[in-house]
Subunit: 280 residues, 2 copies
């Protein structure tokens, strides 16, 4: 997890999905004095995030165009960052290169997320690119062990965190989601394909008697971190506050904080802890 690219050079290609993280990676790369080129995925990347940087808008499945843009801009290192939904086959419309890559992905298209993302990173490697993790550039957004803000988990929350860790690790071994919500030992909600925001909304609706509750979020053990780091942002904190949780526990060094300052401010304002767990 140590940043390995401080002394590298050449253009970094950013394959940009939704949200603000692609812009943050671009800014971090630029701060290292390296040029950036963004592949902005249609229907996913946000125009305001992409606009400040050299970029091209490309359909997700137009692999031929993606590879030729990356080669034209001499991108050796590439970063995949920001959510994209796995499209339906009907909407995919791959170009010729895309169809060739889909065939190479083969059965992985039908495997869990990990299988697919791992296969994608492998294919890009075979095409001569080095796939970097966003965390290699955003080391300041990785959180740290212990409390990030003003609040810390009490004994009850620590016990819920321990139960959540046990649950999320068991889920991870089965290649299911990255998170769960636990309140006083009861698992309120477990994350699969719906994502953390939807899970938090559901947890708000099935709280049990009493206060408290924690969101526990981890990398899946087999997860290809270069393609899908768990993220926490102000929206996660809003969702946790609406579900009346007492805080969020995450893997320090294995979780990207979208706008760390805003996260800490929002958590402090809501009375929530942000608790970084040592990597296990």
């Amino acid at each position: 997890m140590t940043p390995r690219v401080e002394h590298a050079s050449g253009c970094v290609g950013i394959l940009a999905g939704g949200g603000p993280l692609p812009g943050q990676v671009a800014a971090a790369v630029a701060a290292q004095g390296r040029p950036v080129f963004m592949i902005a995925f249609q229907d996913f990347a946000e125009p305001s995030v992409v606009a400040p940087w050299p970029h091209a808008w490309v359909r997700l499945a137009a692999a031929g165009q993606i590879l030729s843009e990356l080669r034209a801009h001499r991108c050796g290192d590439i970063v995949l960052i920001g959510p994209v939904r796995r499209p339906s086959f009907r909407d995919l419309r791959p170009d010729a290169e895309g169809a060739r890559i889909l065939a190479r992905l083969g059965r992985a298209l039908f495997a869990g997320d990990d299988g697919l993302l791992g296969a994608l990173v492998r294919v890009l490697g075979e095409e001569g690119f080095t796939v970097r993790g966003a965390h290699e550039f955003l080391s300041r957004s990785l959180g740290k062990v212990g409390a990030l803000g003003r609040y810390t988990p009490d004994e009850g929350a620590q016990s819920d965190i321990a139960r959540g860790l046990e649950v999320v690790r068991a889920l991870g071994r089965l290649d299911i989601g990255q998170g769960c919500v636990v309140q006083n030992g009861v698992v309120l909600a477990v994350e699969a394909m719906e994502g953390t925001d939807a899970m938090l909304e559901r947890a708000a609706g099935c709280r049990q008697p009493g206060t408290g509750g924690v969101l526990v979020k981890l990398c899946k053990p087999e997860q290809e971190r270069r393609a899908d780091m768990p993220t926490i942002g102000p929206k996660t904190i809003e969702g946790a506050a609406r579900a009346k949780l007492s805080g969020i526990a995450f893997e320090a060094g294995g979780t990207l904080l979208i706008d760390p300052q805003a996260c800490v401010a929002a958590a402090d304002a809501a009375g929530l802890f942000l608790w970084g767990l040592a990597e296990s």
Copy 2:
């Protein structure tokens, strides 16, 4: 799981939550020539289900009233059937006996569902009642091994069922929910406190490319079957059809079918299989 009460006698007390099952248990008991008395839980039991039988409306936490009604009607055997939501402490308002029982339940109130239901069955046993499982009376509603209707799982569905079994067993070991939805090897949704209907609705919204998908529903290994049998009803089948699944797999002998004929008819009409798995 063998019916054990064929030759018993005396009044059967039915502690009735929501849905039609309390009425079905009452009818099955009456068909054995035994009298029935229903404790209808306010805010949960359905008036039209309760009305045909001798009954009293009681608040969930009015344990003193519940016990004295059961004793007044000489109920030796009792059955807990039909869903009730765990109330908040604010809404609970126990009577004196209720407060005493809450104290005896103690920490189990904060444990997983299994802990709470197991403790409740234990307390009722200590009070001199024999808690029977609804399945001991509703043996015709227990399903059987293999296809209940016209459709059977194909090879892809069998493979999703195997994956789902692995997932639900792992969840059960952690005292989480009873079900999950798997499509082409991807776990779309996992059930915790929200229940099967909400999980199916969510699964409909995060389907992956391709067809198929199965709902797998099992008893949790530690589950107190006398207090919380998994059930499948026409509503489950509607939800599975809306999520475009190819069928439902359940534990034969360990799952109550609400109106088995209507379930089979609905599944046949929707092109879904209903597949009973041998107990493991």
